[in-house]
């Protein structure tokens, strides 16, 4: 096998895996604070369409990125208000956010679908994605605010009793997660496949969610997991093109299958799960109890 071919494969893996890293690392931080946001797919799509529309209208990549991020802040802000202040069910609200995001992005993008644009070089974002994983890891394990986030995620009543502002902390992590998802969407519609078409994220939000569980809430494992998922998908394409017969359907379900296997594995060892899964995940926090 020649070196150019290997470099080429490496390139494709880097480009196709980056959106999973963005969305995954955002969700990981959100979940570490005890909130499960199932709205990734919707956030990604709205981020993708906002970035695309801004680019078509202004021709400026910076504005495009800016408005894409703003869309993430607004939508995840609404989600945070619903689950934190109104204490709605996180799973139902997250699903609603996804459905809303799919519909909203389709509606906004209707006129712009099929407008040709000049794509942006993905390599900056690939570097940023690695930096973000490093920063998230450092933040969660080495800094005081990071430890507060984890305390809130483990036991919000204790954290509250210690004087930490649970609601404010969770607002921050939810919005961080929202921004990361919209960044993933921006990357998809501006760098990865420079276009806007309805539903173009094609389920990557769900894979990112699965990835967080697969990584047992550890940033570095998330990065490794994302590259395993992405790498396997590209490797099977390469093997197919060489002429090796492979069950393609199997590779499509592999991320979910791997996640279930990890779930079974970590559930069999209570201590393992306790070490990494936030204990207050998906439990609403009531101040005056």
């Amino acid at each position: 096998m020649n070196i150019e071919l290997v470099i080429g494969i490496f390139n494709i893996v880097l480009i196709s895996t980056t959106p999973l890293v963005f969305a995954g690392i955002g969700e990981l931080v959100t979940e570490k604070s005890g909130v499960l946001n199932l709205g990734l797919e919707g956030l990604m799509l709205v981020g993708a369409v906002t970035g695309f529309i801004t680019l078509v209208l202004t021709g400026n990549y910076f504005y495009s990125l800016f408005f894409s991020i703003i869309s993430g802040v607004i939508l995840s802000g609404i989600f945070a208000f619903l689950v934190l202040n109104l204490m709605t069910n996180q799973i139902a609200t997250g699903l609603a956010l996804t459905i809303f995001g799919i519909g909203l992005s389709a509606m906004l993008g209707k006129k712009f679908s099929g407008t040709p644009i000049e794509g942006l070089n993905p390599y900056y974002f690939i570097v940023i994605s690695f930096l973000l994983v490093f920063m998230a890891s450092y933040f969660l394990s080495k800094t005081k605010p990071g430890l507060i986030v984890r305390a809130v995620g483990e036991n919000h009543n204790s954290a509250y009793a210690l004087g930490y502002n649970v609601i404010k902390t969770r607002y921050m992590t939810i919005i961080f997660g929202g921004v990361m998802s919209s960044l993933a969407g921006f990357y998809i519609s501006i760098c990865y496949a420079p276009m806007w078409q309805e539903g173009m994220t094609a389920g990557r939000g769900w894979i990112a969610l699965a990835l967080v569980v697969f990584a047992t809430w550890k940033p570095w494992r998330l990065l490794v997991g994302a590259y395993i998922f992405g790498g396997v998908a590209i490797m099977q394409m390469n093997l197919q093109a060489i002429g090796v017969k492979l069950p393609g359907q199997f590779f499509n379900m592999m991320p979910y299958l791997a996640t279930i296997i990890v779930l079974v594995f970590i559930s069999s060892n209570k201590l393992r799960l306790k070490l990494s899964a936030p204990a207050s995940l998906n439990i609403p926090f009531e101040k005056n109890q």
Binding site: I12, I102, G199, R204, A233, M237, Q240, A241, K245
Partner: protein, 356 residues
């Protein structure tokens, strides 16, 4: 989970286009993707719009988009049937059994299933001879490739897709016996990211022409970026990849849809099988790219179109052998429609096996 959500969503996105009148016929469409895909579903939607313009107030149309090819399709089709639609077009191969299931429950509603082969008294099937277009692009690819390697991105192993691969290869190998095609099965009709990955993988493995049988224009875009050539799919995709796009095979559904809707309005609709190509205008080639293709090659392609139209050229002319080396079409004969409709084997010369 994704599919469930998409289906839930699709029920929200039912769009009733014009107001109901008592004598108006209601015509419904089930789409596999969004009308904005600029590929397969886009062309069906163009057909729907053509039909509306042609028939005016005597019909009203509805469509449901993003309907997955599983049990959810039954619900979507039934929803249209139960809400008073007179004619329903189901526009993807794997809606076949779902269409029949609902058709049995609603014997008074007429159904038209695209690219399928199972019919009932109230179910017609229709398809276009896309493979005729694949013969043209195969000929062009065979002449244009420099690396003798062509990348082919496909969706699902169904007869329509395999027929296309065979027609393409036969035409390419005829003018260039050294040509090899590398095939990637994506197992989805529509995933721009994955289609771009597949195109990049094929280019990385030495392909200098990208052919696709999936629905987004991401492969053509990837080819443009990498500086190789490509063919578009279903609709004219030149705007997205002007320096890579040689031509596209276009699906023209409008006249057929208008005729069938008129038949329902007149009460003359009957179950039948329709399979049309260049001759009837259901398949067309987009304008050939004069910047990329030499003039004599464009002329050859146009002559081939004419020859296919008047029957002097056929995409599957014998002798044709399968991969095991058995003669499947004798010399001097052409493959009959029965063989084409159920084609699930590769012809000799294509590497790899048809996935099961």
């Amino acid at each position: 989970m994704i599919r469930k959500i998409l289906t839930i969503l699709s029920f929200f996105t039912i769009i009733s286009v014009s107001a109901l009148q008592a004598d108006q016929k209601k015509i419904g469409f089930i789409y596999i993707g969004p009308p904005g895909d600029h590929g397969w579903t886009y062309m069906h939607d163009q057909g729907r719009i053509y039909m509306e313009n042609a028939l005016g107030d005597s019909i009203s149309t509805t469509y449901i988009e993003n309907v997955p090819e599983n049990a959810d399709a039954v619900r979507a089709i039934r929803k249209l049937a139960a809400s008073g639609h007179d004619l329903i077009f189901t526009t993807s191969f794997n809606y076949m059994d779902q269409t029949l299931e609902v058709a049995e429950e609603f014997p008074d509603v007429k159904f038209e299933h695209a690219t399928g082969f199972k019919r009932m008294d109230n179910v017609s099937t229709y398809s276009a001879r896309f493979y005729e277009g694949r013969t043209i692009i195969g000929h062009i690819a065979g002449k244009m490739t420099k690396t003798n390697t062509i990348g082919y991105i496909v969706s699902f192993p169904i007869p329509e897709v395999i027929r296309g691969i065979n027609a393409f290869y036969l035409a390419a190998a005829k003018v260039n016996p050294d040509v090899k095609i590398k095939i990637i099965w994506n197992y989805s009709w529509y995933d721009p990211g994955k289609e771009a990955d597949a195109a990049n993988t094929l280019i990385n493995q030495g392909a200098d022409i990208i052919v696709q049988h999936t629905d987004s224009y991401a492969p053509c875009q990837a080819a443009e970026k990498a500086g190789v050539l490509a063919f578009g799919q279903a609709s004219n995709q030149e705007a997205f990849c002007p320096n890579a796009h040689m031509t596209s095979i276009e699906d023209i559904w409008g006249p057929y849809y208008a005729a069938k809707a008129q038949a329902v309005v007149d009460g003359t609709w009957g179950s039948e099988d329709t399979w049309q190509g260049f001759k009837e205008g259901m398949v067309e080639m987009s304008p050939y790219n004069t910047k990329l293709l030499p003039l004599d090659l464009i002329l050859e392609a146009k002559n081939m179109e004419t020859a296919i139209e008047n029957g002097t050229l056929h995409s599957f002319e014998g002798p044709i052998y399968n991969q095991a080396g058995e003669l499947v079409v004798k010399e001097g004969e052409v493959a009959d429609d029965g063989m084409l409709a159920g084609m699930m084997f590769y012809v000799q010369g294509i590497d790899g096996e048809v996935p099961q």
